[in-house]
């Protein structure tokens, strides 16, 4: 693939990404903001794909778009956000917000102006890989040989996360009626049905009831 097409794709995805990122912070409804964040993640994945980091792109879509955004939406909905009180205290928190914005702007400008330290010229241009090269396989080869210990530590962290999540959010409600399918299947006839011998009884007009 020749360069100009790649550049066109890059600028198209970057434009969509910047627009979506602006919408994330300007849109009024938090649910729409979360959906625009999904669009931002998608375009970021496409840009990573242009860098030939295919595994990162796949994981960004799989984990962030698939799972983390679901969690974000749940959090947004669980917080029960009323839109009116959100605007209260705007003046009160304005100085702090301006301060944070100034610090972030200064950081961005340092990177933009200090091109001799941070610019793209500091890094070699990544060379294009031949057809059939698999970034995922290269990553797997490194991860499961040189980085075995961090990998297992990640497993332990996930285990801790499972235990912590169940400990923090598991609520038991008293007095609920649940069914036990195993017991339902195992049930025997004589546990449910009782045959009672009864003497036939006659009514007043002589017919049997």
């Amino acid at each position: 693939m020749d360069m100009p097409l790649q550049e066109i794709i890059f600028y198209a995805f970057s434009a969509v990404m910047v627009l979506a990122a602006i919408m994330v912070i300007t849109v009024r409804n938090p649910v729409y903001a979360a959906l625009f964040l999904v669009l931002t993640f998608f375009t970021a994945a496409a840009i990573w794909m242009l860098l030939e980091a295919e595994f990162l792109a796949i994981v960004l879509v799989l984990v962030y778009v698939g799972a983390v955004m679901v969690l974000f939406l749940f959090v947004v909905m669980m917080l029960d956000i009323n839109l009116v009180p959100l605007k209260e205290g705007f003046i009160r928190f304005l100085p702090l917000g301006v301060l944070v914005a100034l610090v972030m702007a200064a950081e961005l400008l340092t990177v933009l102006w200090g091109r001799d330290r941070f610019g793209t010229g500091q890094f070699p241009v990544p060379e294009a890989h031949p057809q059939g090269y698999s970034n995922t396989a290269a990553l797997g080869e490194k991860l499961y040989t040189d980085y075995l210990l961090p990998f297992e530590v990640a497993g332990v962290l996930l285990l801790v996360a499972i235990v912590a999540a169940t400990a923090l959010t598991l609520r038991r409600r008293a007095g609920i009626k649940t069914q036990n399918p195993a017991r339902q299947v195992r049930v025997r006839r004589d546990e449910r049905v009782r045959l009672v011998k009864m003497k036939p009884r006659s009514n007043a007009d002589g017919r049997e009831a």
Partner: protein
């Protein structure tokens, strides 16, 4: 390597064009005669009982967290499966230890009843 992703790019372009054009064509050609009754919110025919924003049960959150954790596990599986021939038995054993840890986690949540929906 990027050339292999050209079909996906074409797919993205076509699906974006399709999505936009369907909405635009529907908006242009569809009849639209709104009145105040049509536009008012309703719930199965009667007036809305409450605000559409309501608190979700925290149990949904637990399910989402557990989903993320096992989703991450899948993310670790992909490079392992692709590189399995080259990492040998050591890599295989490493993944087995990893899976064992997550099975322990799975048993924990199972036995504590986090998977029950009451």
């Amino acid at each position: 390597m990027l050339a292999e992703y050209l079909p996906i790019l074409i797919f993205l372009l076509i699906s974006t064009a399709m999505g936009i054009s369907l909405v635009v064509i529907g908006g242009l050609l569809g009849p639209r005669r709104p009145d105040s009754e049509k536009l008012s919110p309703y719930e199965c025919g009667f007036e809305a009982f409450e605000d559409s924003r309501m608190k979700f049960d925290v149990r949904f959150y637990l399910v989402a967290i557990l989903f993320i954790i096992f989703d991450l596990e899948i993310a670790f599986f992909i490079p392992w499966a692709v590189a399995l021939e080259r990492i040998g038995w050591v890599g295989f054993a490493a993944m087995m230890v990893f899976v064992l840890l997550l099975v322990v986690g799975f048993l924990v949540e199972w036995k504590r009843g986090a998977l029950e929906w009451e």
